[in-house]
């Protein structure tokens, strides 16, 4: 468990996470609105050599970037059912030769491959800008 004391630190943690990633890895990022899911992904992408601007895909659902590897950035915030997610073809992406970074994975839990890295971001109880971040390799 790590404590991030600012958005900047969350970003740097993302860069650190990128160093352990390899092709076909899936990182699912859990956290309420405003905890910094997109922020940590911006760090991961930076670490993976993505040059394009990394923004929230809440509306577009999937952003694709090319760094050292293909990077797929998902956001299932506005997805309401598994069938909608399946129609997006997200399963094809999960088994593709890239790295998948997923916001709101809880919306599609059943579709996610078992083997993945979970990042759980929570608000810190006492400090407004602090976050508790856990990184768990599963299984």
């Amino acid at each position: 468990m790590v404590i991030s004391r600012s958005s900047r630190e969350t970003y740097r943690l993302g860069i650190e996470i990128s160093k352990i990633l390899k092709i076909k890895d899936i990182v699912s990022i859990y956290g309420e609105l405003g905890t910094g899911k997109t922020r940590i992904i911006q760090g991961i992408c930076r670490g993976l050599g993505v040059k394009e601007r990394v923004t929230s895909p809440s509306f577009a659902l999937i952003n694709e970037y090319s760094g050292k590897l293909k990077v797929y950035h998902f956001d299932f915030f506005r997805v309401n059912s598994l069938s909608e997610a399946m129609e997006l073809g997200c399963i094809d992406y999960f088994y593709d030769d890239g790295i998948c970074l997923i916001e709101w994975p809880e919306k599609i839990e059943k579709l996610l491959p078992e083997k993945r890295i979970n990042v759980i971001i929570q608000y810190h109880k006492e400090r407004k800008n602090w976050r508790r971040i856990e990184i768990i390799r599963n299984p």
Binding site: L33, G34, R39, F59, E87
Partner: protein
């Protein structure tokens, strides 16, 4: 030149017919066709586009009182958007172009939005600042003329429409958040809470709306539920005002620094009534003409796709059959 426009980049299946300056028809699926053919509105999936594309195109031709063989060119959105959804429109376009033996062109959805104010507007062109704001995008550009765009800035995280959606979600107001916050805010005091105006003091033209959403969240956590319910209109109006203030500041700064006297605000968020009024009031004060399309041309539509395609085909541009979807197609800046 009679051009058929096809738009399937996101939730809407849309088709329009445009003939050199005149829009002959403009059909959007989520209005009438959904009722007739069933399905939920709005559906997220490419399957909905598959189901709707033929009836939508047929209806647009019927409304334009045209037969298929009278179409002289086709224009289709190739990105940015959802790959599965874009492919439906692109494949349909290729098949129809092949069948009819006519040219087609793939266009950028954001460039089409940038010019959406020109539909039905016969004023002569002049340089302007273009602000495209929607659920997925936020782009500020200086337009010298058609095809010549200087990129000024874009969002570093969330788009303004997304901020509306997420704050609406925090307040349990439903989806999409823009129209409902706009409506509720009318009864609220926009100075009730002073939310941050991210980046308003910086000189650059980039935007950031993610922190604003978090600021609203912190505010909601700090106050009692009953208090929030009582002041929901005030909170909405205050949040909305933060977004408006930032968009106005950057757009008018750009107009001043680029010495142009017109700002065109387009995209779904441009349909927000308080935002429209704020832009117009400020424009009047500073002698800057503000142009905002009718709401139906603010949100996703095929009229803007047909118009842009018509201009490009007239310029001799066209696509070949190898064209495919470009989900992350960037805004085409040339300077």
């Amino acid at each position: 030149m009679i051009v058929l426009g096809i738009e399937t980049s996101c939730d809407e299946t849309a088709s329009a017919v445009y003939d050199d300056g005149t829009l002959l028809s403009n059909v959007i699926s989520s209005q009438e066709i959904h009722k007739k053919y069933g399905g939920v509105v709005p559906e997220l999936a490419s399957r909905a586009h598959q189901r709707l594309i033929v009836p939508v195109v047929e209806q647009s031709l019927r409304k334009a009182k045209l037969k298929k063989n009278q179409i002289e060119g086709i224009s289709v959105t190739v990105g940015p958007g959802l790959v599965g959804s874009l492919l439906v429109g692109i494949s349909f376009t290729k098949a129809l172009a092949l069948g009819l033996g006519i040219s087609f062109i793939g266009v950028n959805h954001l460039e089409a939005h940038l010019w959406s104010w020109k539909i039905g507007n016969l004023s002569r062109g002049k340089p302007f600042i273009g602000l495209v704001i929607s659920g997925g995008h936020c782009i500020l550009t200086c337009v010298e003329r058609f095809g010549k765009y200087q990129f000024l800035g874009s969002t570093k995280d969330d788009a303004p429409g997304e901020a509306f959606d997420k704050v609406a979600k925090l307040l349990n107001l439903g989806y999409p958040g823009g129209p409902v916050i706009d409506r509720i805010s009318k009864k609220g005091n926009r100075n009730f809470v002073r939310f941050p105006r991210p980046g308003i003091k910086s000189n650059g033209y980039d935007f950031s709306f993610s922190g604003l959403k978090t600021a609203v969240l912190y505010y909601l956590r700090k106050h009692k539920k009953t208090y929030i319910e009582k002041h929901i209109a005030d909170i909405c109006a205050s949040f909305q005002q933060s977004i408006i203030d930032v968009l106005i500041k950057k757009s008018f700064d750009a107009a001043c620094s680029k010495r142009v006297d017109m700002i065109a605000v387009t995209g779904g968020v441009a349909a927000n009534s308080s935002l429209q009024k704020a832009f117009r009031d400020r424009g009047e004060k500073e002698g800057i003409e503000i142009i905002i399309p009718e709401p139906v041309y603010c949100t996703d539509n095929a009229a803007m796709i047909a118009q842009l395609g018509c201009w490009k085909l007239r310029n001799g541009e066209k696509s070949d059959f190898s064209i495919t979807a470009l989900p992350s197609y960037p805004f085409p800046c040339s300077i």
